[in-house]
């Protein structure tokens, strides 16, 4: 059976989204725990959370760019 390239790329993108979603959800949950325990540290926690999310997002976007290259560059 011949596997369609577009389907494989979509599957890969879905896997990456899954992983990045898990990672960001873990950060968000931990940040909420932290803010609930120490509301006065909310600003620091929020800043750190955004940085960590951006780093994970960066990895996900690497894969998005690779997927786009696979789709558009024949």
């Amino acid at each position: 059976m011949e596997l369609p390239l577009g389907g494989l790329i979509a599957l890969a993108a879905a896997l990456v989204t899954w992983g990045a979603g898990l990672g960001i959800s873990k950060i968000g949950a931990s940040a909420m725990d932290g803010i609930a325990r120490q509301p006065e540290a909310a600003n620091n926690i929020r800043g750190t959370m955004i940085i960590a999310c951006a780093l994970i997002e960066g990895v996900a976007f690497f894969c998005a760019v690779i997927a786009l290259i696979a789709v558009f560059v024949k």
Binding site: I50, A54, F61, F62, A64, V65, L68, F72
Partner: protein, 272 residues
């Protein structure tokens, strides 16, 4: 059996039509997202000369607008800032206190504030210009984001050497208190890491801005695939994504400058 030839030709015809639609969809997407030498305005088609593309023009317009904003509109002489000056000043204070001083320390932070402010407002302006109809996003061009993060990389290296000397800068890659055997593996990774940081900065801004626009135009492009019935839901959904994009434009400008300041701060004050 007599129906089978006509059936196959129908299927072939349908497939060809589907291919046409997908081709039209891809052309629509590429036309709105990719860089080109052709800038379409309502009553005017501008064909740009060979040395500049549409994204290059966007860079020039953004720069001109920023010069206008800070040269003419921004009044630093007023005792009490009003209107636009007030808005701009709140951004500048934010960049100074939350980004520059927070990551570089009080003394260096004040010195670097103009640099980070320039970078922040430039990236923000380009991101927001991409959301204005008829304009295109210069930051969804890999060359533009690469050039911006090369400035950061240059600042990391040059400031590190200026502060600690060439030898001290090379030494700052080695974390203190690590045994020699581990250091042999760790040292090349740390040096490589500096370049990977800049590369990640490039890809992050580029992919964020490109992905947002691809989502918007993919949703609008559904009209090409599924006909006029989906036009209204597609337009509403695209509008919702558009508002998300405004937030992303600010967030990515902030993230880009924040990470730049963290990297430059780590190069100025290692072992923190």
């Amino acid at each position: 059996m007599s129906s089978s030839p006509s059936h196959t030709s129908d299927a072939a015809h349908g497939a060809a039509e589907g291919d046409d639609k997908i081709q039209a969809f891809q052309d629509f997407l590429a036309h709105h997202v990719m860089d080109s030498h052709h800038w379409e305005l309502p009553f005017l088609d501008i064909h740009t000369p060979a040395f500049i593309t549409v994204h290059g023009i966007m860079l020039l317009i953004g720069t001109a607008f920023l010069c206008l904003l800070f040269g003419v509109v921004y009044k630093r002489k007023d005792d009490v800032p009003r209107g636009m000056t007030n808005l701009l000043e709140s951004f500048i204070i934010f960049v100074r206190d939350e980004i520059s001083i927070a990551n570089l320390g009080e003394e260096d932070g004040r010195k670097f504030t103009p640099f980070f402010c320039s970078m922040f407002f430039f990236v923000l302006m380009l991101n927001l210009m991409g959301l204005i109809p008829l304009f295109s996003t210069a930051t969804s061009n890999l060359a533009v984001t690469a050039a911006l993060s090369m400035i950061t990389l240059g600042a990391i290296i040059s400031m590190g050497i200026a502060r600690h000397g060439a030898l001290g800068f090379l030494k700052s890659f080695a974390p203190p208190g690590v045994p020699l055997a581990v250091l042999v593996i760790l040292y090349p990774i740390e040096i490589l890491g500096t370049f990977i940081k800049a590369f990640a900065l490039t890809i992050r801004l580029f992919a964020n801005m490109l992905a947002g626009h691809i989502v918007i135009f993919s949703i609008l492009g559904m009209v090409l695939l599924f006909g006029a019935l989906v036009a209204l839901p597609a337009a509403l959904l695209a509008t919702a994504i558009y508002f998300l994009e405004i937030f992303v434009a600010f967030l990515q400008a902030y993230i880009f400058v924040l990470l730049s300041s963290m990297f430059i701060g780590a190069s100025l004050h290692p072992e923190h």
